[in-house]
């Protein structure tokens, strides 16, 4: 078991290396950052000097080697726009993004767990149709459009919540609902099918046939066991969740990593772009790892090989 954990953690290394290579190649192709870093009237000599000091005259692989050495330490250079270490600029924005992501995840869980169970136990009933219908609709609606519609309804028409920004709990309501519903849609569907699968298991049938109350069978036998895949499902949503924050933050001017990243992309602040990609990728990888480990801890049937 320990062996498995160690191997699983070691597997992160090649993944991070490949990500670093993809990002580095892209930035390499993007061309010279020097033009952006110097004022327009800089002389040719200044340009050459800066190129030399940044190591931009070295061959691709040498540059990549230096890059990896810095990458491992989380050093992505200075943001030319903020004049600070890119990583610290990104990390400053991380709490805002995590706040939004966690609030959205909670909303998603609160909606999808009861809805998923309910619709699974009453398959093809009215409730099931509404739940699955809502899930499909949630998937079909673009997240950012839902956000705009919520602003239109609750901020513009009803003046119940602020349009944008971060600070009070009221600020958090609309962005987290926006982000949460998209994830809830996907999770409801997955929880429903996981629950249906559990309800068809022999031990559930046995419990039913020996005359246990339906409620006890559903909650004590089926629900507990279908919780296991729910954990994996939740963790697998991390990537969607983080991707969703990028857009939701822009819609609501939420001062998180996503907003920072989109600004950085627009101003070609590559140091910030790279640092954010690194942080986000690491976040996703770690969440998947945690899910994998939890899954194996909770389900003794799974072998470690």
């Amino acid at each position: 078991m320990n062996n498995y954990f160690v191997r699983r953690i070691l597997q992160i290394i090649p993944v991070l290396l490949i990500i670093s290579f993809i990002v580095f190649s892209l930035v390499f192709v993007a061309g010279d950052p020097v033009a952006l870093m110097l004022p327009d009237d800089a002389s040719q000599e200044d340009v050459e000097l800066l190129r030399e000091s940044l190591g931009l005259n070295e061959p691709f692989l040498v540059q990549y080697g230096t890059y990896v050495a810095n990458f491992v330490q989380g050093d992505f250079g200075e943001s030319y726009r903020y004049g600070q270490d890119a990583m610290s600029v990104v990390l400053e924005r991380l709490p805002a993004t995590l706040e939004l992501a966690i609030a959205a995840l909670l909303i998603a869980l609160v909606i999808s767990i009861p809805l998923g169970i309910w619709s699974a136990t009453k398959q093809n009933s009215g409730i099931d149709l509404i739940a699955t219908g809502a899930a499909v609709l949630g998937k079909a609606m673009p997240n950012f459009w839902l956000g705009i519609m919520l602003i239109l309804l609750f901020s513009v028409s009803l003046s119940m919540f602020p349009v944008s920004g971060r600070g009070t709990l009221a600020h958090l309501v609309l962005p987290s609902i926006t982000l949460g519903t998209g994830i809830a849609a996907e999770m409801t569907r997955l929880i429903r099918s996981s629950m249906i699968e559990t309800l068809n298991q022999d031990y559930v049938r046995t419990a039913k046939s020996k005359g246990l109350k339906n409620r006890i069978v559903v909650y004590k036998h089926a629900f507990r066991n279908s919780l296991i895949p729910v954990i994996t499902i939740t963790a697998l949503q991390t990537s969607t969740l983080v991707g969703g924050t990028l857009i939701t933050e822009t819609v609501f001017s939420w001062p998180g990593m996503g907003q920072l990243l989109i600004q950085a992309v627009n101003t070609r602040d590559m140091a910030i772009v790279q640092a954010s990609v690194f942080v986000i990728a690491l976040l996703v990888i770690l969440m998947n790892l945690i899910a994998d480990l939890l899954y194996r801890l909770l389900d003794p049937r799974i072998k470690y090989n």
Binding site: L26, F144, S193
Partner: protein, 306 residues
């Protein structure tokens, strides 16, 4: 005749029966049995026709600026007129015409990028699944790396490097979505290659590339079609998101996402600007999902049991 070759013959004949082109009648019967499938097909056909016939259907030039007609509401509201059924935007452009033309970009980007993703993904999946070992390991680590970067983030990085355009958009979305196909196809290949007809082909010395193209590829096509359809739906949303962020399609080309983005600044006064393109996206995506679900039920009998 040995037991094994008999099994091979059974497999082959089973396969050839399955491969027989299904008659139009059978398909339409299967389609009409599913209400959502029918609705899905109708929506998809409708959007497709709108996109193709856009120059005929659109009442106005989608890019025509008209200062006298700025921010006119839809026809049923006070101040609206039937000349602009869904109103006009901040530059006096006709919203309905812009939405009609926007369907072209959604379908173009949605479908072509899925084709790009499919070609890369299926190739990688076939190779990884068939050869196994080191190649499989290396390719799957590559897939893991791509999976660790949210699609939209990856798209943003590439667009920031190459600059936004329709072609870049298609390739970006293709280059980010291939991992799903690779994973799926690899998984399928792992089971198919253990089946008797592939083993038999091996034992009589059929070359690897022929086994891949003749025996493995046809057997993964149906799952490929199913996830492709659903993938078109998510890609349309992704394209709209990127265009909304200003990193997708650039003016004067119209995208539903960019109409929405224009409308965001006028929420307080002109709700219709941001509302209608979103409705268009939602209905289109809904139609594609319905169609995709129906295709899954028809092509993958295993899922029907659930």
């Amino acid at each position: 005749m040995s037991h094994e070759s008999q099994a091979v013959i059974n497999e082959v004949s089973e396969d050839s029966i399955r491969k027989k082109p299904s008659s139009f009648k059978r398909w339409s019967k299967l389609l009409l049995r599913s209400k959502t499938g029918t609705v899905g097909l109708v929506i998809v056909l409708f959007v497709f026709l709108v996109a193709v016939l856009a120059p005929v259907l659109a009442p106005h030039d989608p890019a025509a600026i008209n200062a006298a007609n700025m921010l006119k509401p839809p026809f049923w509201m006070e101040g609206g007129s039937t000349a602009h059924l869904l109103g006009t935007d901040n530059l006096g452009r006709d919203i309905l015409s812009r939405i009609i033309y926007g369907s072209q970009i959604s379908l173009l980007v949605g479908i072509t990028s899925v084709v790009v993703a499919g070609i890369i993904g299926v190739t990688v999946g076939l190779i990884a699944g068939y050869y196994g070992g080191f190649i499989d390991n290396a390719l799957m680590r590559l897939v893991d790396s791509f999976l660790a970067i949210p699609t939209i983030l990856f798209a943003l990085v590439i667009l920031s490097v190459f600059g936004p355009s329709v072609i870049t958009l298609i390739f970006v979305l293709g280059a980010t979505n291939w991992v799903n196909y690779a994973r799926l196809v690899r998984g399928e290949v792992l089971t198919i290659k253990e089946r008797d007809f592939v083993r038999a082909a091996h034992s009589i010395g059929v070359k690897s590339n022929k086994i891949i193209t003749r025996h493995l590829l046809p057997n993964v096509i149906s799952s490929f079609i199913v996830i492709s359809t659903l993938s078109v739906a998510t890609t349309i949303i992704l394209e709209a998101s990127l265009s909304f962020l200003g990193l997708g399609v650039q003016p004067p080309t119209v995208s539903w996402g960019s109409i929405l983005s224009d409308g965001r600044d006028y929420l307080a006064t002109s709700w219709w600007l941001a509302t209608f393109p979103g409705v268009a996206i939602t209905i289109t995506v809904l139609g594609i999902i319905f169609l995709g679900d129906w295709l899954r039920d028809v092509l993958d009998p295993r899922s029907k049991a659930k």
